[in-house]
Amino acid sequence: MNTDFESIFFDQTIEKTLFYSPKIEIKPVHLANGLFRAICGVYTEARDQHMTIYPKGYPNSNVNEQIRGVLHSILSADGALFARAQMSSYTLSHITHITSDNHDRRTGEWLFTILNHDYGNGPSPALELLRVLLNQDNRQRSDEISTLTLPLTKTGFELKDFKPQIPDRHPGSLEVDEAGAFRDPLLYSIRKGFDCIAKHDGGKGNFGEKLDTLRRLVTWGCFSIYLHLTNSGSLDRKKRVPMLLCMVESPSPTLQQASTQSYQWVGRSIDRFLRIAIRDTLNRIAEEGIYGSWETDAEIRQHIQTMIWKAFGGGMRQAEARLAKYTPQCLLFYDSYLSDTANQSPRSAFVNAAADMIDQIVSSSPTAVARGLGTRIGLLSPGLYTRKRYTAVPDLLEVLIRATIPPQELWTIGKLANHWANHYGLLFGALGEENTRLAEWGINAIDGSSLYDNTEALTTILEMSGYARRYADGVVLVSVRE
């Protein structure tokens, strides 16, 4: 029996571990569509709506061209509106905008599971908040977008039930212990962020505030996925991969370099995760014996020679010429791991060769997916991926603050730095022990004045955004003041 490489060593492996599948680019709007769909449990078949907002594909319409132009501009603001509704994710604000588009790669469902988890206080208040905001009736629609599309769902519209794909026995990333608590403490950091944002934004929904709330929760969702991927290969669940924020406009070389180095740990962490996951998969299938034996060099070479690299079921079919290159390439990788220098067993050599092949087989590697998501929420600087660094834009900083500091609380900048470092791995300079933390990851030290300037820059942004107040003696207090 020939082995289907992508299906077995990526799709099935991911399904059992992460559950969400970072193999094509995920935009924040995809995640919004997927998350809202999982929360509301429905998606729409809104033929008239889609035809109206996509004038390029459907030139004939009863609706005025000018209105169609405006609708197209608004609903395609995130660049995910295409000819087919099931391939589109609108810049949405209402249940009637949710589509069956699966570009979120199940991140929405994964986040929903975290939000729905009851660890004593019931599900997250974010669930109810989002349900209320997304289900506003025709009279109550409070935002401009859902009001503008109201006439488009009068006909040709049907709500369809969404069938969750998450198995009863949770995948590794959502594993719970005997008491029903998540094993991975990172999930609680994610969950608390959602809860905190919902507490700040609860009771809102009037006009502009509704859209703000939707954006904040989605941005936090994207940050959560990024954070989870970043720590996916971490061996110590209590330790976070560092993310050094570079907040000054012209950072010093040491700061810039350290931030880039901390970003490079995302790739390493994901790589480590993949190698472990593929090893487990290989051990499992070897044990089950469905695909024959995977013990000797000859057996593994035979598997590689007969491997079906990509399934042809999907719409994105790869060129024959490209497919033909995979076998010799995998053999090259395999041989290198078997060589005297690496000196690995045939099975270990195959695991590593398979992990090296993943980046070429899938449309976007998991690292590229994380990078794209991080850049789109403003966590990573734009530009060449080799020069990326962490730099939170003011909108993201706002979300981080609202996800961290509970209502009515006043935190010092030091307390904030401590919380961010311990829960998310975010560093910016206020801790005073950044270099020690970074050294554990082999990241170069930063000069003290750069860290001081960096903290000042972040404080200034918070101050200008109304979240921080600077007092005499350098004391900075941060709070969410409505």
Binding site: L31, Q66, A77, T147, L148, L150, N206, F207, R376
Partner: protein, 539 residues
């Protein structure tokens, strides 16, 4: 040389050592003290048995003030805590509790942050629990509409960071103190009648010239710069001495290019020194207004031609025809400070319109309802830039603009479904709460655009210099994409906050869509009941 003990002190005042009250000998402190109405107010409060908290930022003069009043003996009946910022909070609270029981007034000088800590730790001190209201009280030191009721029992808080010290009387007080001894002892180091310190002292002792100095400092304050007493004394010290003793004044100095040159009299004249010093205040002056850099349509050509020979307040040295642009710039400065003219009118000619209008708005010289319409028009125009002839009702209704996208980046446009008549908004100016209103002037560097009958917590937009500048620049065509994020954030907060005031959902909604890149505005009417589009209109 000006063989005065004070001369060295002047330099020390400029570079800071003498400006920190804790480090200065009492005699110098006494000498430099500028008495204001706050002094008498504190004395009166202590006499009445009230507790007094002086708070603010370092350099605001808290400790200095207590030291002065203590040496006068006017605070003898009170317990004084002169630098509570250095003390343990619990110790202060214990002493305060004790003094409270003994009915001894407690006078406290403390920075903002430790004062907040003190308020946070007050639980457990039964007679002082009301101090937990301190943070609110600090926030309410300034009010806009209705004066808030104090929640502190028999306690007065004075937030010196809100005090405006750039007033003619305070600056004159400093000038008089610093110039007195300079003018009383002739200089023996400089050539006769060529000592720049003497020249500067004589000049800035003149009321007319001092008024022009204060005018520039007021422009700086209006832009939001908080000048401390320390800054101000340092500034006067520097523009008098140029941070040099006369004994070394005329020695060659190293230029920026590394060469040495002999200093000239002009190098040490106050009207040049004012734009040369090193401190945040000097930086602010340079970026705010230097007469050398702004044109005066009435006089620049005359100065260039050397035809203005009359009206100079200090005729010597004789005004010469400038031979270079640099000399013209120096002459323009001299003209601004030393020529008899109506400074207000001169400023009107020289200042950019934005700066002048901002000043007029702050001072309340304009009609407030018209100014509200002007601001509303500018806010609308920032989100929906239209050609002037298309701006039909931009000034009469404030649209509550919004945008939406999940990824970072510029939105394709802005929309608004709600609006509010400009008549529902008004302008408020900052005022000191009644208990301290007679003791200090508060900084006038902003106004508040807010709903009628505004109360703290209601939505408001602080129109300060950066906001006014952004709105004006948008009106002149600066696109929203390049506006600073904090400006947009503040506007967002204001517009969101107004949503509940703009009414609920309507049977027919009118949604405006602004494509700011193409400067178009589209109105779409949606009938909620029929789920249909009504007649559209294109502006």
């Amino acid at each position: 040389m000006k063989a005065l003990p004070l001369f060295e002190d002047l330099a020390e005042f400029y570079n800071g050592h003498n400006a920190v009250a804790e480090r200065v000998e009492e005699s110098k402190l006494q000498y430099m003290h500028i008495s204001t109405s706050l002094d008498t107010a504190i004395e009166a409060w202590v006499m009445q048995g009230l507790d007094v908290i002086l708070t603010g930022n370092p350099g605001d003069g808290k400790t200095h003030l207590i030291n002065i009043l203590q040496s006068k003996g006017s605070l003898a009946s009170a317990y004084l805590e002169k630098d509570a910022s250095q003390q343990d909070t619990q110790t202060i609270l214990k002493i305060w509790q004790q003094r409270k029981q003994e009915n001894i007034p407690f006078v406290l000088a403390i920075n903002h942050a430790p004062l907040r800590n003190l308020a946070a730790e007050v639980r457990g001190y039964p007679h002082l629990e009301y101090l937990a209201n301190i943070p609110d009280e600090i926030d309410n030191c300034i009010y806009y509409n209705e004066a808030p009721k104090s929640k502190l029992q028999r306690t007065i808080i004075v937030d010196l960071s809100q005090r405006e010290i750039v007033t003619t009387s305070v600056v004159k007080g400093i000038v008089d103190k610093l110039c007195k001894q300079v003018l009383s002892t002739p200089c023996t180091d400089c050539p006769p009648r060529k000592c720049p310190v003497e020249y500067n002292a004589k000049a800035i002792s003149s009321d007319e010239i001092l008024h022009n100095v204060v005018t520039i400092l007021t422009l700086v304050a209006r832009r939001g710069f908080h000048t401390t007493m320390r800054d101000l004394i340092g500034l006067v010290a520097y523009i008098l001495t140029g941070d040099r003793l006369c004994a070394t004044r005329w020695q060659p100095v190293k230029n920026e290019d590394g060469n040495f040159s002999n200093p000239t009299f002009e190098d040490y004249v106050y009207y040049n020194l004012l734009f040369k010093g090193r401190s945040h205040l000097f930086d602010a002056i340079r970026t705010t207004f230097d007469p050398a850099n702004y044109s005066d349509s009435d006089n620049d050509a005359k100065l260039w031609a050397g035809v203005i020979s009359d009206g100079w307040l200090i005729p010597k040295p004789v005004v010469i025809i400038p031979s270079s642009l640099e000399e013209l710039k120096i002459l323009k400065r001299r003209y601004f400070f030393e020529h008899q003219h109506d400074t207000a009118k001169l400023l009107q000619r020289m200042l950019p319109t934005t700066e002048y209008n901002f000043g007029a708005m702050i001072e309340g010289k304009l009609d407030d309802p018209s100014e509200v319409e002007n601001l509303v028009g500018m806010i609308n125009n920032l989100y929906a830039p239209l050609h002037p002839r298309q701006r039909a009702d931009q000034s009469y209704r404030l649209r509550l603009w919004n945008s939406h996208r999940y990824s970072v980046g510029n939105p394709p446009g802005y929309f608004a479904m709600r609006s509010m008549p400009a008549d529902n908004l008004t302008i408020y100016r900052p005022k000191a709460v009644p208990q301290i209103t007679h003791s200090m002037e508060v900084r006038q560097d902003h106004i508040l655009l807010a709903v009628q009958e505004w109360l703290p917590g209601d939505p408001s937009l602080r129109i300060d210099w950066p906001m006014y500048q952004a709105l004006t620049s948008a009106n002149y065509g600066t696109p929203i994409e390049v506006q600073p994020f904090h400006i947009l954030r503040r506007l967002d907060l204001f517009l969101r906050g107004l949503s509940p005031e703009a009414g609920g959902s309507r049977h027919i909604e009118n949604i405006e869509w602004s494509n700011h890149q193409y400067r178009t505005l589209v109105s779409i009417r949606v009938n909620r009941t029929n789920q249909s589009y009504e007649q559209e209109r294109h502006a």
